[in-house]
């Protein structure tokens, strides 16, 4: 079964062709990086996969089901989760309340009105487990916006995982992190169970090649290369666009 099929997807923004007939197939359990210079269309592709944006033309299939016209929250119910390039949490709420909103979504009773959330055992247990597992228990009362940037990036991933997804989209999870934090996040991703399909946008090539098997390269909205990472790394066209930009390329890892 395919976790994701992107079929001839294009997207225009007024005069700009952000994506141009991009096609991509991701199998269940695959770990794939989407790389490319700034403005290549990587985040736009994520937005189209998760339904925040509609493609101008083309189709999206999730687990063999056509979801092109499905609302984002319905795609989440099919097992899709994502993180955002710019942290998108509930900044004024506590860490506990952030996790609880994810836990409510995961346990199904997300619109229940008949009981206080604090008295619903399943939600509380899931919150507690999640917070302890990710070493956030001692921070549970803090407002998220008061936490360090590194902790906020970690909570991005925690919230996405709390909905128990089958396909996870990570948009530059290590951007702006220190070396130590980057390694921490990288080992978190590495330790995720292997049935979880992961799509990763990442500028740090060391991290990328450590984590993925397959690499897709976007450039100015076009799919430039697509294949096993060793192959893509040897591709001269890929080297060229990266040499032309500030990002390091081909550094031994």
């Amino acid at each position: 079964m395919n976790a994701l099929v992107v079929d001839q997807v294009s997207r225009r923004f007024e005069g700009l062709q952000a994506l141009n007939r991009v096609s991509l197939t991701v199998q269940v359990g695959e770990r794939r990086a989407i790389i490319g210079p700034n403005g290549a269309g990587k985040t736009t592709l994520f937005n189209i996969i998760n339904g925040t944006l509609r493609p101008t033309t083309g189709r999206i299939l999730l687990f063999d089901r056509d979801v092109t016209r499905l609302a984002p929250h319905r795609r989440t119910h099919l097992g899709l989760a994502r993180t955002f390039q710019i942290s998108a949490l509930f900044p004024r709420l506590s860490v506990y309340e952030n996790v609880r909103l994810a836990a409510q979504a995961a346990t199904g009773g997300r619109y229940a009105m008949h009981r206080p959330a604090a008295t619903l055992g399943a939600i509380q247990r899931l919150c507690e487990d999640t917070l302890k597992k990710w070493d956030l228990w001692h921070l549970r009362r803090e407002a998220v916006r008061t936490l360090s940037y590194g902790d906020q990036r970690r909570i991005e991933i925690v919230l996405a995982l709390a909905t128990n997804p089958r396909l996870l989209l990570l948009d530059e999870p290590t951007a702006g992190l220190s070396l130590a934090e980057t390694q921490q996040v990288s080992s978190i991703i590495q330790a995720l169970h292997r049935q979880l399909t992961i799509l990763l946008i990442e500028h740090d090539m060391d991290v990328t090649f450590e984590l993925v098997d397959q690499v897709t390269v976007l450039h100015l909205g076009n799919l430039l290369a697509d294949g096993p990472q060793e192959e893509v790394r040897r591709d001269p066209r890929v080297a060229e666009i990266y040499l032309g930009s500030a990002t390091e390329w081909g550094k031994p890892c």
């Binding site: 900044p91 997300r110 229940a112």
Partner: protein, 315 residues
């Protein structure tokens, strides 16, 4: 947990105190307290939208007025049964909110404010236009206090005060339950970060819509209590002035807090009572209060106090 018991004890104490109030308060002031309770409920219902949902409605009087007109008109023509009147008033407020919500929730922010204002003005205009039904600016007077088949008659002001107190208390408990429920938490999530809530699997539109209709229903209940209290309904009960007053009560007390709107309502009702006997320019004073609150206590009286206390206990 201990904090919770303490809070419950305080609320219970407050309720008993209010229950005993008629024994000590002259009837004029009892009337004012009745008004505070009714407008407090009205402000709390708006707070569900504004404070918790982040949706600034400037047309909340629509539900107050529709429910009031419904009860007034039907009490003369259809039934004297208070329960039935309450039910029908709520139903009309709910239907109105369900319709207006469909239109208003296509927009956000300032546009939401303007469309709710416009929708409210449509009803206000209708109240003038349908003269044969509503008597336009003369309004409908002589509405009887509710007949509820209980051992008491609510024609008596003290009995009616107790009826309002119990109704507002029950409605408040319901509102607290909604705010504390998973749904209520989701509504706050919509306010804080819509995009994130959506990718967590919430239907963001549905959260807003349910909050909108619930706010309309509770606003309608306030309107029903008011028509029974005031025995008179006029286009003023549908007007943007009433909507703005409710908005001011919420902001004055503290948006997004439980007690804030009630405190804002108390302040405004008492200030209005004092000031309107001194000057005709009550609206000007309202505007001034608004400017002062927004500039100097943006979190509101109760909201600001609460934040200060929390900061102190954190140190």
């Amino acid at each position: 947990m201990r904090q919770r018991t303490r809070r419950t004890a305080m609320a219970l104490g407050g309720f008993l105190l209010l229950l005993l109030l008629p024994a000590v308060l002259p009837s004029f002031y009892l009337g004012l307290v009745t008004e505070v309770l009714i407008f407090g409920l009205f402000a709390m219902s708006l707070n569900l939208l504004l404070g918790y949902g982040g949706l600034p409605s400037l047309g909340h009087a629509a539900y107050f007025g529709v429910a009031g007109y419904t009860v007034a008109l039907l009490s003369f023509t259809v039934t004297q049964n208070g329960w039935l009147l309450i039910f029908l008033g709520l139903a009309m407020a709910g239907v109105t909110a369900a319709l207006f919500g469909l239109l208003a929730l296509r927009t956000r922010g300032d546009y939401f404010l303007m469309i709710t204002l416009a929708l409210g003005e449509v009803l206000w205009g209708l109240a003038f236009k349908l003269r044969s039904l509503t008597h336009a600016e003369d309004g409908i007077s002589g509405v009887a206090r509710p007949v509820l088949n209980l051992p008491w008659s609510f024609e008596d002001d003290v009995a009616f005060y107790v009826f309002v107190l119990v109704s507002v208390t029950l409605a408040t408990l319901l509102l607290i339950l909604i705010i504390e429920s998973p749904f209520g938490k989701a509504v706050v999530g919509v306010r804080e970060n819509e995009a994130r809530l959506q990718v967590l699997g919430y239907n963001v539109w549905l959260c807003r819509y349910l909050a909108f209709v619930l706010a309309g229903l509770f606003g309608g209940l306030a309107g029903i209590l008011f028509i029974f209290y005031n025995r008179f309904v006029s286009p003023a009960d549908l007007s943007v002035i009433l909507s703005a007053k409710a908005l001011l009560m919420v902001i004055l007390g503290g948006a997004g807090t439980l007690a804030g709107p009630m405190i804002g309502a108390a302040l405004l009702v008492f200030i209005e009572n004092e000031v309107s006997s001194l000057t005709e320019r009550w609206l000007l004073i309202l505007g001034l209060i608004y400017v002062v609150v927004v500039m100097f206590i943006p979190a509101g009286v109760y909201g600001g106090l609460k934040a200060k206390l929390q900061r102190r206990s954190a140190v």
